[in-house]
C-alpha cells in the first residue's frame, strides 16, 4: 500500500534520512522504532511532502506521491497524527474534528463523528472546550480522532504514547488495534515505546541515524538481542 524506496531528506544541509527503504502492506500494523533523532518523525512528514524527499520514491496505492502537494497527498486517503499532536489550540474539540473531516465526504460526517466519540467518549464530553485546554492524553485522543475523521485507508501515527500515563497508553494501543481490525485501516506507527509497539504490530522496522537497520515481524524484533539491548531493557 505504501512503499518507500531510497528516500533522502534534508533539513538545510543536514541529511536526516539517508536512503530509507520500507514497505507497508494493506491491512497491516507496521511499527517503526528507534532512538530520538533517528529520523522517524522526519520519515512520516516526508511521506506527506513536508519536507519533500530530495531523492527516492514514495508510492501510495500505486501512485507516485513524492512530488505531490501535501493537501493532494492526504486527499488520496492518508492521514497523520503528527509529532507534538498539533491540536488547534484556539478551536474547540468539535472544530478540530471538523477540520479532520476536511477531505471527507460530507454524507459520512455524522457517522464518523459518532464513531470517534465511541472510541474516545471523553471527547464527546469535551466537545465545546478549546483544544488548548485539554490534558496531554485527551489531546492525543483528539489528534487520533481528528486523523480518523478523514476516513483514511492509511493512518500515520507519530508517538501516540508519548508522555501519557501507562493506563492511557494501554487504552490508546487498544484503540489502534480496534481501528485496524474492525475498520480495516492500515496503520504505520512510529514509537519510542518499543515494547508496546512491537507487541501490537505485525511487522516492525528499526531506524538508526537516518537508516533502516533491522526489520522483521513484531515477534522477531521483540526477541532480537540488539533490539532488546537498545530499546527494551532499561525500562519501557
Amino acid at each position: 500500500m505504501l512503499s518507500i524506496a531510497g528516500v533522502h531528506t534534508f533539513y538545510g544541509k543536514i541529511e536526516a534520512l539517508k536512503g530509507v527503504d520500507l514497505e507497508v502492506g494493506a491491512g497491516e500494523i507496521v511499527a517503526l522504532i528507534g532512538a530520538n533523532g533517528a529520523g522517524k518523525s522526519t520519515l512520516l512528514m516526508t511521506i506527506c511532502g513536508r519536507p519533500r524527499a530530495a531523492r527516492g520514491r514514495i508510492v501510495f496505492d500505486g501512485r507516485d506521491i513524492t512530488r505531490m502537494e501535501t493537501f493532494q497527498i492526504v486527499r488520496l486517503g492518508l492521514a497523520q497524527s503528527p509529532e507534538g499532536r498539533r491540536i488547534f489550540p484556539r478551536m474547540t474539540v468539535l472544530e478540530n474534528l471538523q477540520m479532520g473531516a476536511t477531505t471527507a465526504d460530507e454524507r459520512y460526517y455524522a457517522d464518523d463523528l459518532e464513531r470517534v466519540f465511541a472510541l474516545f467518549p471523553i471527547l464527546k464530553q469535551r466537545q465545546s472546550q478549546r483544544g488548548g485546554t485539554l490534558s496531554g492524553g485527551e489531546q492525543q485522543m483528539l489528534a487520533i480522532g481528528r486523523a480518523l475523521m478523514s476516513r483514511p485507508r492509511l493512518l500515520l501515527l507519530d508517538e501516540p504514547s508519548l508522555g501519557l500515563a501507562p493506563l492511557v497508553v494501554k487504552q490508546i494501543f487498544e484503540v489502534i488495534r480496534e481501528i485496524n481490525e474492525q475498520q480495516k485501516v492500515t496503520v504505520f506507527l512510529v514509537e519510542q515505546n518499543a515494547f508496546h509497539a512491537l507487541r501490537l504490530a505485525h511487522r516492525g522496522y528499526v531506524m538508526q541515524t537516518g537508516r533502516v537497520t533491522l526489520s522483521g515481524s513484531g515477534r522477531e524484533l521483540l526477541a532480537n538481542k540488539e533490539v532488546r539491548a537498545a530499546y527494551l531493557e532499561g525500562g519501557h
Binding site: 513536508r50 501535501t70 492526504v74 486527499r75 498539533r86 488547534f88 484556539r90 472544530e95 477540520m99
Partner: protein, 304 residues
C-alpha cells in the same frame, strides 16, 4: 454637548472606514505573519473603481441612486478583490519560502508601484465627485449649533455593521472560515488535514481587499475627492488601528478603527486640525511601548 455629539458621529463614520481597512491588515497578518503594506493602495484602487463605475453607470443612463450604489458596490468589490488576489499571487507567494523580510520589502515595492500605476493611468490631480447621497437628520439644536446625521453617515454605519456581522459569521461558522482559522493557528497542520493552504491564503487576500474596496467606496462618497496618494495615509492609520486593537484579532481591528476615528475627530474638534495625524501616530507609539499586543491581541507565546 451638541458639539461633542457631532464629533462622535463624525468620528464613528471615519472609524468605520478605518476599521474596514484594518481588517485586511489583521487577517493577512494572522494567516501568514506579514504586514501587507500595499493594502492602503488596494483601498485607493477601490476608491478609483468607485468613481469610474459611478461615471460609467451615469453615462449609461442609470439614474436611480440606490441602484447605482448597489451596482457600484458589487463592481468595486469585484475589481478591487482581483487586484488583491493578483498582488498576493505575483508579489508574495513566490517569496513564501524565503526570509521573513522579503515579502515585506516586496509589499513596499508593490505599494509604490500601485501608486505610480494609478497616477500614470488616472493623472496626479484629485478626482472630484459631486455629492450623490445628500440630506440627513437634524438630531439636536442647541445654542445655534445643530447636530447632523447625514444619510450618507447612516449608510456608512449600517453597511459597516452588516459587513461585520456577515464577516464574523463567515469566519466563525463556515468551512472556509474554519480553514482560515486553522491556517492561522498551524499552517502546516492545516495542510496535513487536506486544506489547500495557498488557496486559503488567496481567499484571505480577496476578502481583505473586498472590505477595503467598500471602505474606498465610502470615502469617495464621503469626501467627494480621491487621488492616487490617499491610500498611504489611510493605510498607515488603518495599520495603527490594527495594532491598537491587537494585530491578528478581527474584533480588535474594528474596535481599533473606531477608536482611531474617534481620536482623530475629537482631536480635530477640540485641539487642532493640523495635528490630527500626529494624534493618531502618537497612539501608535504609545501602544507599541506600553501594550504591544494591542487591546484585544493575544500575547505571542513561543512554544518550546
Amino acid at each position: 454637548m451638541a458639539y461633542f455629539l457631532q464629533q462622535l458621529i463624525n468620528g464613528l463614520t471615519l472609524g468605520s472606514i478605518y476599521g474596514l481597512i484594518a481588517i485586511g491588515y489583521t487577517m493577512v497578518y494572522g494567516i501568514i505573519g506579514m504586514i501587507n503594506f500595499a493594502h492602503g493602495e488596494i483601498y485607493m484602487i477601490g476608491a478609483f473603481v468607485t468613481i469610474i463605475s459611478l461615471l460609467v453607470l451615469a453615462s449609461a443612463g442609470v439614474t436611480s441612486i440606490p441602484v447605482a450604489l448597489v451596482l457600484t458596490l458589487i463592481v468595486t468589490m469585484f475589481f478591487t478583490s482581483a487586484y488583491g488576489w493578483t498582488v498576493e499571487r505575483i508579489a508574495y507567494r513566490p517569496l513564501r519560502a524565503s526570509h521573513k523580510l522579503a515579502p515585506l520589502i516586496s509589499a513596499i515595492g508593490m505599494s509604490i508601484f500601485l501608486q505610480n500605476y494609478v497616477q500614470l493611468l488616472q493623472g496626479a490631480r484629485g478626482k472630484p465627485l459631486p455629492p450623490i447621497v445628500t440630506g440627513g437628520f437634524t438630531l439636536m439644536d442647541s445654542g445655534g449649533f445643530s447636530v447632523h446625521l447625514s444619510y450618507l453617515q447612516l449608510f456608512i454605519f449600517l453597511l459597516t455593521v452588516a459587513l461585520m456581522a456577515g464577516f464574523s459569521t463567515l469566519i466563525a461558522s463556515t468551512p472556509l472560515g474554519r480553514a482560515q482559522r486553522a491556517c492561522e493557528q498551524d499552517l502546516g497542520m492545516a495542510a496535513l488535514l487536506g486544506v489547500d493552504v495557498d488557496r486559503t491564503i488567496s481567499l484571505t487576500f480577496v476578502m481583505g481587499a473586498a472590505l477595503a474596496a467598500v471602505a474606498g467606496l465610502m470615502v469617495t462618497l464621503y469626501w467627494g475627492v480621491v487621488d492616487f496618494f490617499i491610500g498611504f495615509l489611510a493605510g498607515v492609520k488603518a495599520f495603527t488601528a490594527a495594532v491598537l486593537g491587537g494585530v491578528g484579532s478581527l474584533p480588535g481591528a474594528m474596535l481599533g478603527g473606531l477608536l482611531i476615528g474617534l481620536i482623530e475627530a475629537f482631536w480635530s474638534g477640540y485641539f487642532s486640525v493640523q495635528y490630527k495625524d500626529v494624534s493618531v501616530f502618537a497612539i501608535l507609539v504609545l501602544v507599541l511601548i506600553f501594550r504591544p499586543t494591542g487591546l484585544l491581541g493575544k500575547p505571542e507565546v513561543e512554544k518550546v
